[in-house]
């Protein structure tokens, strides 16, 4: 039992995760660039015009992946927060911290592109319906987490406070996701769902999925780059950091 746990936790040590993060980051960067190139080309030139919205609908190829990522990254951060609180692994908190700016960025992109789409299609930039409001709350959760964590000088206490905020905020995620089902909203229902399949034409759906994977790869790449910096910063007193070739110089 104890040997299995030791194995499991091998990469929970910052020293052994640091080089792995570098490799994952490089691979993800390549995947992200390739998928973005393909995805953007398909978004603009391959995907057909929508029967009702014309060309304006193409913003969904950014909007929907960003909105999905905004929720998914939050869940991943909450997972790391729970791991950190239960197992007291330093790296878990670092992972949560490294993902936060990307999650906030994705939320912002989702809100911003949504407003651009809303003006011509709905006739308004913003309404306070359940979907839009809960997504805005998600943005505040990200920003609040970053601020709270940064405001506490003691790293351990900051991590723990941030983790609790993350876990409390998790209730917001199902609210965002199901808001269009539970209440009447101006925002339309889900076009793609696990249970009901998709109500988009196949080529549009494929384009959107490619963009989604591109966003995934991007998020992984920047999170890995960021977690490496956080590791260096927090472990700067240790010998293994002092002996790194890139630090020695």
């Amino acid at each position: 039992m104890s040997s299995r746990i030791l194995n499991w936790f091998k990469f929970s040590s910052p020293a052994s995760f640091y080089p792995l993060a570098g490799t994952i980051g490089r691979v993800s960067t390549l995947i992200a660039v390739a998928l973005l190139a393909v995805g953007l080309y398909m978004s603009f030139f391959v995907a057909p015009t929508d029967y009702k919205q014309g060309e304006g609908y193409r913003i969904i190829f950014i909007h929907v992946p960003a909105a999905w990522m905004s929720m998914f990254i939050y869940v991943v951060m909450a997972f790391w927060a729970a791991m950190g609180l239960v197992f007291r692994t330093r790296l878990s908190f670092m992972m949560a911290r490294a993902l936060a700016p990307t999650g906030a960025l994705m939320t912002f992109i989702a809100l911003w592109t949504g407003a651009f789409w809303g003006k011509p299609m709905w006739g308004t930039w913003w309404v306070w319906d359940a979907r839009l409001t809960s997504e805005l709350i998600l943005f505040f959760l990200y920003v609040g987490y970053i601020a709270l964590q940064g405001a506490i000088p003691d790293v351990r206490r900051g991590d723990r406070a941030g983790a609790i905020l993350l876990l409390v905020g998790v209730v917001n995620i199902p609210i965002i996701y199901f808001s269009v089902k539970w209440w009447n909203t101006l925002h339309q229902g889900a076009s793609v769902s696990i249970r009901e399949g998709s109500s988009m034409s196949a080529i549009m759906l494929e384009t959107m999925l490619i963009m989604t994977f591109a966003f995934w790869a991007y998020a992984i790449a920047v999170a890995m780059a960021r977690v490496r910096l956080i590791i260096l910063e927090r472990e700067r007193e240790t010998r293994w950091v002092a002996e790194l070739p890139e630090v020695k110089l």
């Binding site: 029967y51 339309q188 076009s191």
Partner: protein, 155 residues
Amino acid sequence: MKARHKRFAFLLVGLSVLGVAAWLVFQALGNNLSYFFSPTEVVEGKAPEGHVFRLGGLVQPGSFRREDKGQAVVARFVVTDNHQSVEVRYSGILPDLFQEGQGVIAQGRMGPDGVFMADEVLAKHDENYMPPEVAAALEEGHRKGVANMATGGGQ
């Protein structure tokens, strides 16, 4: 019980309590979080009387007309949920997606004559995305289906 099991149990209990609290809050709020009322709810008197509220539904095909009243062009149409319907009067700019059969949300209040006086009309898009050819084919298929039912189905 190891320390980390204890912490895990504590976390689980905390999250469950939070979940139950959130559920209770939403039970209490109920329909108040809805962005609009349907025509059925309005006809049943569930919408606030004498207050501003939002009415949502489909623009009934064939109901849209414009009245030229001096400077202002007044749009009149019927919003329906295929069960009940409410007549709407609105003077202002209609969004691009506004058309008959399309979802709309109108904000305003009920007039004394039972006509909903809107100050703002938004188009509500549905979750369907497809190229025009597919939409045309669907439309064609639907028409044929309806025709078959009309001719073949005697009962």
